[in-house]
Symmetry: C2
Subunit: 483 residues, 2 copies
Amino acid sequence: MRAIVVTHGHEDHTGAIHHVLDEIGAPIYATPLTRALLEAKLNRNAQTKAGLTTIQAGETLDVGPFGIEFFHVCHSIPDGVGLAINTPQGLLVHSGDFKFDRTPVDGWPTDFDKLAELGQRGVLALLSDSTNADKRGWTPSERVIDAAFDDVFRRAPGRILIGTFASLISRMSQVAAAAERYGRSMAFVGTSMIENARIARRLGYINIPEELIVPIDQALGMKPSKVVLMCTGTQGEPSSILGRLSSGTNRQFGVESGDTVVLSSHPIPGNEEMVHRTINRLLQRGADVIYDAIAPVHVSGHASQEEQRQLLQTVKPKHFIPIHGELRHLKQHALLALESGIEPENIAVVENGTVIEFRQGRMSIGERIPGGYVFVDGSGVGDIGPSIMKEREALARDGFVMVHLQIDQKTGRLRSTPEIETRGFVTLRDADSLLAQARTRVGEVVAAAKGDDLKSRLERELGKLFYAETRRNPTVLIVLSER
Amino acid sequence: MRAIVVTHGHEDHTGAIHHVLDEIGAPIYATPLTRALLEAKLNRNAQTKAGLTTIQAGETLDVGPFGIEFFHVCHSIPDGVGLAINTPQGLLVHSGDFKFDRTPVDGWPTDFDKLAELGQRGVLALLSDSTNADKRGWTPSERVIDAAFDDVFRRAPGRILIGTFASLISRMSQVAAAAERYGRSMAFVGTSMIENARIARRLGYINIPEELIVPIDQALGMKPSKVVLMCTGTQGEPSSILGRLSSGTNRQFGVESGDTVVLSSHPIPGNEEMVHRTINRLLQRGADVIYDAIAPVHVSGHASQEEQRQLLQTVKPKHFIPIHGELRHLKQHALLALESGIEPENIAVVENGTVIEFRQGRMSIGERIPGGYVFVDGSGVGDIGPSIMKEREALARDGFVMVHLQIDQKTGRLRSTPEIETRGFVTLRDADSLLAQARTRVGEVVAAAKGDDLKSRLERELGKLFYAETRRNPTVLIVLSER
């Protein structure tokens, strides 16, 4: 008996499901919003295969020997749950992705009573979200954004564009409320933003008055000071709305002087440079740009250290397993657990795929099941591995050189001047003498050739020549025609 | 009359000089440490050409119609200067890269008296460092690091490795002081670290007792709890000491359980992911890793908003030109100037290369001189431009496919099965059917060919086929042999 239990509807928790549906033939359980967002990613065929079942916070589900109790947790998307998993060995608590927002936008705080009850029943192990384990204090409530939005809406002379994650449903409510306060109409821009808003409104997770919302075509015809557009692209993705606006390639409309662009988001680690480039380009186009470094227009959806400590102290687990974070976050979270009184031998800092066993109330760490990243590239899933990535890295660094030789089968001599093509290596107009040298070297190697390792000798010799002349290592490809 | 005046010895202020020496034939002026660090980058020939002259804070230099007064500013390298430039139109003040550290490690604070004097003389325009224009408050003094180091040295059970920028001379003093307090010997690791320590000690910018320093070979033979190693690699560069230690490819020694690694640095924007990967890998190897998110082991070398405000209010310029930062920082700095009472029309937010003219005390913004990045790649300077970068991006994304056809000149038919080679596109063992399809398509295109656009038709048709089958766009290269 197996099941896939999804704690919330974010991409990093739902995005891989359709790739593994065939291999893991198990029913999927999720809360209403999570289910609807997941369904939007699956085609009809996959939906049938997936065997989706709706569960609610407060309900219980039996999966083989496990009894799972779902409890509500706050996060940067509504309808998130944590799991209390009753096992024959004891009670496990899985936090899901969470924060302890006391005043969440949807008015539905984390179920503290349930956490206290679990703590009193006795918890064998806690698995808890480590994302912000290196952030001191408390993550602010989503409510702080209202004041920042007030400030933006009060001052903005023209159009307001608010970029955020398409899954940040509560931010849609906050923008709608600000629009209402300041007499602006609101339009959603971008497929995923429109789709998610539709789902959340249909299911009642956000409640925006019908008359507040206008289609984008209509919004573009209105007085700029009377509209706010909500769009995607906070990570600087070139094909997103904000990405296209920043590069001047959005067809429907552009960014203009007088526009105020708000990035209600934080760069996902690794995206910082792209995000900053997008901000700079929007500024170049004359927009005013407000982002989280200069005004509190975004807060994290994950618990900081004090919330992580509170969860530990409420649940009082015997064992602790930090989850959801890089190794540096897991280690830091383990330190907090240690400070909270968990015995060092009862803390397991492990990476994904590691088996942890409980027997007679004792924890042991098993083997790590071989695994790793599966790259999805175009329509291919898993066909790109480390060797292809290395080839791409080499090509990205130094490009390639293709040399085509026609060789006389009888004499072993060149029949004509070798033909050379390059991509990403040198600017051809500057490379006349380099390529002439390469042709000469080819002639020398062919003249001296004995045996049939001509191709690899040419690759080696040309590689040496190019490195000596340019300090670059292009990929060299030899094409031989013999006749 | 032209001159190159260097404010301090950091790479982003000195690194390009040897590339432009030939084009800009001008003498170079720098303080002793800056000069020595610059000389270390130039070969003897370039040093002669460079015409280096030592200047000191407090001195004055005449360059044509300009009289330049140098004044000391604190930064994350000793011997930094700001410039007061007397021009026929009035006095310009250039901050250099600065912070207002009241208790700098070398005991030499920014020359506040000079700034006040300049303010009283009347300043036509201030050009000021904008790096931290989006950081509230004050940048902490370098001194806060001493307490964090105390904490690390007190707890570390074994070897301590401290990674920082090779130019962070004051950090060397701080590590040496901590080593002395806790009875450890100190070794420098890495060419640039050793070289810069040597220069700074020779010129008296750091004062480390001879008996404290041991060569790395000797340090490696000592009891781990008795040594601290200072090395490079805080940006996750794969070829740096910390980069090699994290990937297990450092020849001389490795990182072990019991080691404490301190990253006394902050990721340069864009390097975050590499830095975090390095931290995770060091943790995987069993080291304890301390970095700026979890302990104050680093502070910025640039002024935050309150220091920027103080400079504005002390110097009281009529005009303000924010410099040294991305556009988003310049805009933010301009806002601070506005708040400090500078007239909006007297603030110029411009990008590099823009001419600013002063006539009769009035500022006007001129044309932008065409320019941009000049890439240095291998031994080539400026030969790589946007088109080559685009080819590299395409190759990095989807690799390439080379198809070699032998065509019968008389019949126009294929003489043999086309030969196909790929790099970075698909894993060959999975691609049998795709490449078979490609060969068939080549046959079809050749059979239907009329006219001599065969190459481009093949490229187009194969591109379509590959995209349809894989949703990838490899670079397609056709090689034709006709006979």
